[in-house]
């Protein structure tokens, strides 16, 4: 071991865990100017998501959504990424934690390794990050594009060390490496270490260790995944055949009281991922594959998830069976037979399936418990970090925050929200860092515009990778003969530190002004070479890469001559395009540092406070006369917290904050301006005085409304009320409750219906909460809860069990035959069907409580969306930019959403999203100016015919016809897709970095020889 070294750089944040949560946190912190050390104990970052196929609710490929994030994380100057690293000791406190970090040896020098894979081919036994074939082996649970792009060596499994070291052409393998232990000081810590996935082996009846075709969901994801063990083919592990019938068994390891069956809470994400897996199975491998999901309740409570579920059922033809069967036998023909009795039927069925997927949930394993101990943070009985409703990402230890699965079971969107929220909280303890030295040290940029073209070509051999297939010398010679090429050479490993320096020096010495690298993929390496050009003193956009490795040598290994011929073509194309390259400037706009927060509920106040506490000036606009929103009507959370007290603290803090200007009784009436400098007008007070605010960012926290549909005699009979009404009654008139001998609660009243399709998410737990409160006052009361699916997510499931333990009866009803409620004098006559008894039950209830949930405030939301030009979902909630990866950002840059304005959620979730929104605002404003990159569309107004084609074509509604009668594209808004350029009939638009000249030049380059 090396001696512990102490580096004192205060003002850093430590992020533990590089999954979705950790990456989001680190990115937000870095973007708001904080220095971050992001550690992960595994060899690459990405966490669970890297092992998944496609992820709900968008069902898109994880690789295309994840990789940009990973490279962002790898690139960001403020992020110090350390893999194979764990925390081994912690002392100190908020503002100054002394943390000991131990990095296990990778045995590969990251600066040298080019991820060529030679070591893996020579010694597969000891090189990890192998897409192996055993779908149960942890080593294969890797994805082929990892960050960092390097392998790691497991010395313990190596037989021939000497040979291993020798096989690496770059000498990157370092068997003698020791663990590195350092002590560093951090102002704040964010824990995002995820959770483990439940191992179903102990539940012997499920046959996991007996039958190869019984797999966990994670294994099934691997089988579906294009980068998985089967190469993306759906195959049964036993015999490689394609399954025709697949069954999912839900809640494996979850929702159990006996530890033999796992843990008591609901894992929250597995209903959705099972549905997703079934959909993907049908979509990708054939609609005729029968998919059945065995469940107790389907818990699809997220935004749009209910529709996802209904579509799965009605359109994809996925079958849902209510039975938690554990009768699994192998049938003679190698299939797996399941025997079950659907809840609403009276005949048992035995049915054969080719594969059975166990929907296993999340657990906190011993290593995570250890981590919690090291940090001394409180955990709940199940090992998850303890937080509370009003501090959703704060642990019991000051300065230590938490995000993602480690806080409780959740999916990616919720993880991303918490990741941003935790970043926000951490910024309160760590001021923005001074600009990185590398930002300043750059030489001035040489103006190359007038210069004659001087193209330099550098061809990599990349060891055997390119050199082993292509005739590199002939390529170098070929390139040297191309027009304007003044230098062409072989650089061995182009991206190694030595070669990079050589290329930089050569550019300067030879006065090159265009550069082409013949190497690997621009996707992975262009940024490095762009930085290199900038360091060499010329504009970063003057370089391109001809993809000789991934798209030539690697795919044509068996026909080297043809491959070399193609290599020549690629270089010709590259040089032709390079000759057309122009220096480009990144586009920036200055930005106002004020923030507008619309809506003064818990979300709006929390966002405003978080921003103000970090030094930003906030205008908080509330249409009502007082702050507080819906939460004012609540008394207790399920966990027993006093909501009124919590809201009071928020209101007082908001009103006391100098940097927050509260505008109550204010109505927003107009909105205009450019990104970064927006103007919003409102009318305030009874006199409707007009006021205008200038702001750089906007947070919408306008909430949703308590629903109140006229169903089940609501509003017509005294004894029928909503759960919402119950809140104050239970606190203020407990004696009323003493008189009730029977109470019936009806769930999903006005939610999960065609008019209001979303699940309201809060009303199942509210019913459980109120049932327990009623019993506390009147233990004699008999309570029935009539439900469709009981949706007590995460730890709420424990309260559901507690309610049953205390005698609350839960009976499922079918929406097709809902309960009947009739007046019976002062009381009510209720009749419902009990599927378990197969009979109707009738009773006289003293009270019927309706779980009416919430609905978007249709009028207000529509008006607001119109003023701010923001899209809404079909249901009427604000629509975020990306449901999964950017759940707080609205599609237009600079607008964010928080709380129930986005979708139904609890107070805790509303506040988390508010803090997340504050974090996103900080990342935006920290830049002082908006950098829009260089890939933007430009209109040559002299050619524009004002035909409106681009106006209609742009996916983001950017172009408009300006006062001069020509199309105008605001670079601040353009996303750079180039669609408008492609569509414009007058060819008046060009997309910089990809303009037509460059693309056409490639074609000319390719066909030069033939047409010449």
């Amino acid at each position: 071991m090396t001696h512990p070294e102490t580096s004192k750089t205060p003002g850093k944040v430590l992020v533990v865990g590089g999954g979705m949560g950790g990456i989001r946190t680190a990115l937000d912190l870095a973007e708001s100017g904080r220095d971050v050390v992001l550690i992960d104990r595994s060899a690459s970052i990405g966490g669970l998501m890297t092992q998944l196929d496609r992820t709900f609710p968008t069902n898109n490929c994880d690789l295309c959504t994840l990789s940009p994030h990973l490279s962002e994380a790898g690139r960001a100057l403020h992020i110090d990424l350390r893999t194979l690293t764990e925390v081994t000791a912690v002392s100190g406190g908020a503002g100054s934690f002394q943390v000991t970090l131990t990095t296990a040896p990778r045995h590969i020098d990251l600066d040298r390794c080019t991820a060529c894979g030679d070591c893996l081919r020579a010694h597969p036994e000891c090189v990890t990050f192998t897409p192996g074939l055993d779908h149960r082996a942890p080593t294969c649970m890797r994805y082929p594009r990892s960050i960092p792009q390097a392998y790691s060596i497991d010395l313990a499994r190596c037989s021939d060390l000497e040979d291993l070291v020798a096989c690496c052409p770059l000498g990157a393998i370092r068997p003698q490496e020791d663990p590195v232990v350092v002590q560093e000081t951090f102002g704040a810590v964010v824990l995002s270490p995820g959770a483990d996935v439940y191992d179903p082996t102990p539940i012997a009846t499920l046959g996991y260790s007996l039958f190869p075709d019984v797999v966990t969901s994670l294994e099934y994801e691997r089988i579906l995944s294009a980068s998985g063990p089967t190469g993306g083919k759906l195959q049964r592990p036993s015999d490689g055949s394609a399954p025709k019938k697949v069954a999912w068994l839900q809640c494996v390891g979850s929702r159990a009281r006996r530890s033999e069956h796992g843990h008591s809470y609901c894992s929250s994400a597995c209903c959705m991922f099972a549905i997703k897996e079934a959909i993907v199975t049908k979509e990708r491998f054939g609609a005729q594959i029968e998919t059945t999901i065995f469940n107790m309740d389907i818990r699809t409570s997220g935004k749009g998830y209910e529709a996802y579920y209904q579509r799965a059922k009605d359109e994809s033809g996925i079958r849902f069976v209510r039975c938690r069967t554990q009768n699994l036998t192998a049938s003679a023909d190698g299939a797996l037979a399941l025997r079950y009795l659907p809840e609403d039927q009276d005949a048992f069925l035995t049915e054969n399936f080719d594969m059975v997927v166990l929907s296993t949930g999340f657990v906190v394993g011993p290593r995570l418990r250890e981590l919690a101990d090291i940090f001394g943070v409180d955990t709940n009985d199940h090992g998850f970090a303890r937080t509370d409703s009003f501090h959703p990402v704060s642990t019991s230890r000051d300065g230590v925050f938490v995000a993602g699965l480690f806080e409780g079971p959740k999916d990616i969107p919720e993880t991303m929200v918490q990741g941003s929220a935790a970043a926000c909280m951490a910024t309160g303890l760590v001021p923005a860092a001074a600009p990185r030295p590398s930002d300043e040290d750059l030489p001035p940029e040489r103006d190359v515009t007038g210069e004659p073209l001087r193209v330099g070509v550098f061809v990599c051999e990349c060891g055997e990778n390119i050199g082993g297939v292509l005739d590199v010398q002939s390529l170098v010679d070929h390139a040297g003969r191309l027009t304007d090429v003044v230098l062409s050479e072989n650089v061995g490993y182009g991206c190694s530190a030595e070669s990079m320096e050589h290329i930089r020096a050569t550019i300067a010495r030879e006065g090159l002004n265009r550069v082409l690298i013949g190497g690997c993929s621009p996707r992975t390496h262009l940024a490095r070479f762009q930085d290199l050009l900038r360091r060499a003193g010329i504009n970063r956009y003057l370089v391109d890469i001809a993809n000789l490795r991934d798209q030539d040598a690697w795919v044509h290994r068996t026909s080297p001559e043809l491959a070399t011929a193609k290599g020549r073509d690629l270089l010709s194309m590259g040089v032709a395009a390079a000759r057309q390259a122009r220096p480009l400037a990144d586009h920036t706009l200055p930005m106002s540092q004020q923030v507008l927060v619309v809506g003064g509920g818990v979300a709006g106040m929390s966002a405003a406070l978080a921003l103000a506490e970090r030094g930003l000036r906030v205008h908080l606009v509330e249409r009502e006369a007082r702050l507080g929103g819906e939460a004012l009507k609540l008394r207790r959370t399920l966990e027993g917290e006093d909501v009124r007290a919590g809201v009071k603290v928020l209101v007082e803090a908001t009103e006391a904050q100098d940097l927050i200007q509260v505008h109550t009784s204010a109505i927003i009436v107009d909105h205009s301006g450019l990104p970064g400098k927006l103007k919003t007008g409102m009318q305030v007070g009874p006199q409707l005085f007009y006021r205008q605010i200038e702001h750089g960012a906007t947070v919408l926290a306008t909430g949703a409304m308590a629903n109140r549909p006229s169903l089940y005699l609501l509003g017509q009979h005294e004894a029928v009320s909503t759960q919402h009404d119950m809140e104050s009654l239970l606190e203020e008139e407990p004696t009323q409750v003493l008189g009730w001998s029977k109470v019936v609660m009806i769930q999903c009243v006005g939610s999960r219906t065609p008019e209001n399709p979303d699940c309201s998410r809060i009303c199942c737990q509210s019913a459980v909460k109120n049932a327990l409160r009623i019993l506390r006052i009147n233990p004699q009361a008999r309570i029935w809860v009539l439900y469709r699916d009981l949706r007590t997510l995460g730890m709420q499931e424990n309260a559901y069990a507690q309610a049953r333990q205390q005698g609350v009866m839960f009976v499922r009803y079918d929406p097709g035959s809902p309960p009947q409620v009739e007046a019976d004098g002062e009381a009510l006559r209720v009749v419902f069907h009990d599927p378990i008894l197969g009979d109707d039950i009738g009773l006289r209830a003293d009270r019927v409580l309706l779980s009416t949930g919430m609905v978007p405030d249709e009028e207000a939301a529509e008006e607001l969306a119109r003023i701010f030009r923001l899209p809404r979902t079909q249901e009427g909630y604000l629509l975020e930019d990306h449901r999964k990866l950017r759940p707080v950002d609205l599609p237009t840059m600079g607008y964010y959403v928080a709380g129930t304005a986005a979708s139904p959620k609890s107070i805790k979730e509303s506040i988390a999203q508010a803090q997340a929104a504050a974090s996103r605002v900080q990342t935006l404003l920290a830049r002082g100016a908006i950098n829009l990159g260089a890939a933007v569309a430009r209109v040559d107004s002299s050619r524009c015919a004002a035909c409106l084609v681009c106006v209609r074509a742009c996916p983001y509604d950017v172009p408009f016809i300006n006062a001069d009668g020509a199309s105008q594209i605001d670079p601040a808004l353009c996303h750079g897709c180039g669609v408008c350029a492609a569509e414009c009939p007058a060819k008046a638009i060009s997309l910089q970095q990809f303009d037509d000249e460059q693309i056409l030049a490639k074609l000319e380059g390719l066909f030069e020889r033939r047409t010449a």
């Binding site: 929702r255 069967t325 049953r804 039950i841």
Partner: protein, 169 residues
């Protein structure tokens, strides 16, 4: 239809039947019945349905149920029940409750057990035993004092003392 205002309904019947709160944790998941051999019988033994009857306190219906008696005591339901309801033991408890409320439910074998100690003629199977080269066993009838003590003990149990007419004579 079961009218909870009309039917014989005892709200706290579960306590009388099973004593333990375990039963109240049942969430009708169906694990137990999926593995139950006796769920193949007609009528099927459906433990979760019995649990529901107990919890609702449907006294009359439960007294009439024969299905608890078709259990093979394999206990697989106990193994698979995620909630620790102990369905097999619940079935036994229902039988006991029926026995307590309805003497015709008393298993006739109890009398044999009281008188001889065994459900089979263990002490009389001399020939069968001799045929395979085994002698007599020290069965309880060999020691009349002990048998008497055993019977005295049984007499101290509720089922025997409450129905002593069946056992005496």
């Amino acid at each position: 239809m079961i009218d909870l205002e009309q039917a014989e309904v005892i709200p706290d019947m579960w306590r009388e039947v099973f004593e333990s709160e375990d039963i109240r944790f049942c969430f009708n998941c169906g694990s137990c019945i999926s593995v139950c051999p006796a769920s193949n019988a007609d009528p099927p033994l459906l433990i979760r349905r019995l649990a529901r009857m107990v919890l609702l306190g449907l006294e009359d219906e439960l007294l009439d149920e024969d299905t608890p008696w078709s259990c093979v005591s394999c206990s697989k339901c106990e193994e698979v029940c995620p909630m620790g309801v102990r369905p097999f033991e619940l079935g036994l408890a229902i039988r006991r409750w029926q026995v307590r409320n309805d003497e015709t439910r008393i298993p006739p074998s109890l009398v044999e057990l009281y008188k001889e100690g065994y459900t089979q003629p263990v002490s009389r199977a001399l020939e069968t035993r001799a045929a395979v080269g085994l002698g007599e066993l020290p069965t309880i009838d060999k020691d009349p004092e002990l048998l008497k003590a055993y019977q005295k003990m049984l007499m101290a149990t509720d089922v025997v003392s409450n129905n002593d007419y069946m056992f005496k004579g």
